[in-house]
């Protein structure tokens, strides 16, 4: 039993698509070879498409009235008999044509083209170190170029650290103009370091340009009295650390508060999709985690369903992964709103760039002890600023103001009763 597919045939010279006007068979029908299956209408002709197989119709993939391109699968037919040698041959040929890196046959591995040899000698490359992606293991021009590029970026990195450690006495060898001969003009000083823009840095750059050039940003900031939170957390943190092995961070409480507020104001938990605004049901918070050189934005999923402990654990795991470069694509996708812990650097105010295509980002600033007037008396309180950047296409000031004051309310009323850790 094998499943065969009938495709939309080319009905005439310049015909590129056809409309299924009527199915002449239905799922479960037994069909004979050449039995008409379906009526197809094109610009030029109306025709019946005959079956190429004898068997049972398993599935019709195109509905009546639908227009599809030539070659689009129309239906699946289950065929009784074993495959005819002819179709085997074609299939074998098809697999043969597929590009495969791990080809058995390596007979071309040592057949070097003039371009490959000249590139190799120009860059001093040992061709034995390269895996060929060409036919039968042949090393192609591109293979060498990719290899050289990788090597250059590696060596530049090494050289840079060397220079950094031992005062620069000589300029780095940058004769390899190979990768960067299209530079914009810049002043040159002895000892300048050249850092290739690749990988993460490049995608950060692209995302930032996109976010700042496309999204009309607006900003607001509120001040929150988190004295209760500070007291509560200070009382619990030692025990928590002992029990769980990681820190009970303030950040987890902020994430918890934001998730609660987003539940109440789903308008902020949405994204701009061109002609629609999509309001997300799940509350997945992106958090910004940086190491020395790079910025990652992993996602904590369904924050509204998690306890403070659960959030603290996720933050801990993701931060650890980011530090060791172990974040997967899975970890970084699906965010619906971003919370950025800028306070860790001592920042008290900042204007975040929205994590495209989300609608807003909240910056949690440093908690600072400040004199505050309560009931006409000075009091020393723990104060924090929360800064929100919003996509003004999606959101307006009123809704964001309400959201912010709700976050404020939650945070100011935090205690063991309102916000249990477990």
């Amino acid at each position: 039993m094998t499943l065969k597919t009938m495709n939309m045939p080319q009905l005439g010279e310049s015909v590129t698509e056809g409309t299924v006007s009527q199915w002449l068979v239905s799922v479960g029908d037994e069909v004979d070879l050449y039995q008409p299956l379906v009526d197809v209408m094109t610009d030029k002709v109306n025709a019946e498409v005959p079956s190429s197989f004898k068997g049972i119709i398993k599935e019709c993939l195109v509905t009546e009235g639908e227009t599809v391109a030539v070659g689009t699968p129309l239906c699946h037919i289950e065929v009784e008999e074993v495959e005819s040698p002819k179709s085997e041959a074609t299939e074998a040929k098809a697999t043969e044509q597929k590009p495969s890196v791990a080809q058995e046959n390596q007979s071309m591995k040592k057949r070097y083209s003039p371009k490959v040899l000249s590139l190799a000698s120009e860059h001093g490359v040992d061709l034995n170190a390269i895996t060929g992606t060409g036919i039968n293991g042949r090393i192609t021009r591109k293979d060498v170029e990719v290899f050289v590029e990788k090597q250059t970026s590696q060596t530049t990195n090494e050289k840079q650290t060397d220079i950094y450690l031992s005062q620069p006495t000589q300029t780095p060898a940058t004769q390899d103009n190979f990768t960067n001969n299209k530079q914009s003009p810049r002043p040159e000083f002895k000892g300048d370091r050249e850092i290739p823009v690749t990988g993460i840095r490049k995608s950060i750059a692209e995302n930032m340009v996109r976010a700042t050039s496309e999204i009309p940003h607006a900003w607001m900031m509120i001040e929150v009295d988190v004295t209760n939170l500070v007291n509560y957390r200070n009382a619990e943190k030692a025990k928590f650390k002992e029990q769980e092995g990681y820190n009970l961070s303030y950040f987890s409480f902020f994430l918890n508060a934001v998730a609660k507020a987003l539940k109440k104001f789903p308008e902020l938990n949405s994204s701009w999709q061109g002609d629609t605004i999509v309001q997300h049901k799940d509350i997945n918070l992106s958090i910004a985690v940086g190491n020395e050189t790079e910025l990652y934005v992993p996602v904590i999923k369904n924050v509204d369903e998690k306890s403070i402990k659960g959030i603290a654990k996720d933050v801990h795991v993701l931060a650890h992964k980011a530090k060791h470069g172990q974040l997967t694509k899975e970890d970084m996708t699906g965010g619906t709103f971003t919370v950025n812990n800028t306070g860790t650097f001592g920042s008290v105010q900042s204007m975040g760039v929205i994590n495209y295509p989300q609608a807003a980002i909240l910056q949690v600033e440093s908690i600072v002890k400040r004199p505050v007037i309560i009931n006409d008396m000075f009091a020393a309180r723990d104060m924090v600023n929360l800064c929100l950047s919003l996509d003004h296409r999606v959101l307006d000031g009123v809704i964001c103001g309400r959201f912010m004051s709700h976050v404020k309310e939650i945070l100011e009323n935090i205690s063991g009763d309102t916000t249990p850790i477990y």
């Binding site: 310049s14 083209s113 192609t140």
Partner: protein, 327 residues
Amino acid sequence: MTVMSYIEAINRAMKEEMRRDDDVFLLGEDVGKRGGVFRASEGLYEEFGEARVIDTPLAESAIVGVGIGASMYGMKPIAEIQFVDFILPAVNQIISEAAKMRYRSNNDWSCPITIRAPYGGGVHGALYHSQSLEALFASQPGLKIVMPSSPKDALGLLKAAIRDPDPVLYFEHKKAYRLLKEDIPDEEVLIEIGKANTVREGDDLTVITYGLCVEFSKKAAEKLATQGYEVELVDLRTVYPLDEQAIIEAAKKTGKVLLITEDNKEGSIISEVSAIIAEHCLFDLDAPIFRLAAPNVPAMPYAPPLEKAFMVSEDKVYEKMLEVAQY
């Protein structure tokens, strides 16, 4: 901008040039009252009259010969050969007279004639209505041969051919006549003869071709891009003399070259392109030079399956491109 077919663009080119310059006139079989067997000269007889749109006897040698004589007296004739397959009786006029006029008269005389002829297959035209004969003329210094691949090129190259001070053969693909349509600016379009055109940029392989094969290659290249291979596609536009510099640059860019023609493979235009690359690009080549062309059989067959087997097609181009990309 106006959407125009390839043949409408040819018609527009002749109209514009005849309006611009009273010395331009058209002669050929059925070009007058009937407006050409393909309707390329539709409306010209009505607008410019029988003195400038001349129906000739079935005598190609005379069509070209009269044109050469007139051009030596300062006229700018467009001589239409109904099918390029019929040009052979005029070859003596073209090669012995037109091509050599400036040279043998030590620059005293010139021959600004344009000879238009439909070529190419895929229209069930069989032996005498499907051939590609450009290679026959491509070893005659003194001649120029242009072969447009799109409506816009058809317009710009024909106008440039008519204005050229020397003989130009203008071969138009008859299948392209109504197959190809595109937006063309309403302003004057002139395309320099002798320069190739980079249709598409890519860095995995270079495809050099001309005529209708450019269209096949464009589509095949889009398809190949989905496989992760990017094609640098060069349209020669002028197949004689060749734009050596453009050919060399394009070949060096990727080191993998696929040359395509609808003509028989041996001794074709792309054979010369291949020689240029071999001469100049040895150390930049990453693969043998590949050629895709019609088989070496006398002419396009009539039977549809055989015609299909003979003709270069989008599918054949795609398969060959993939082979070269994976080499």
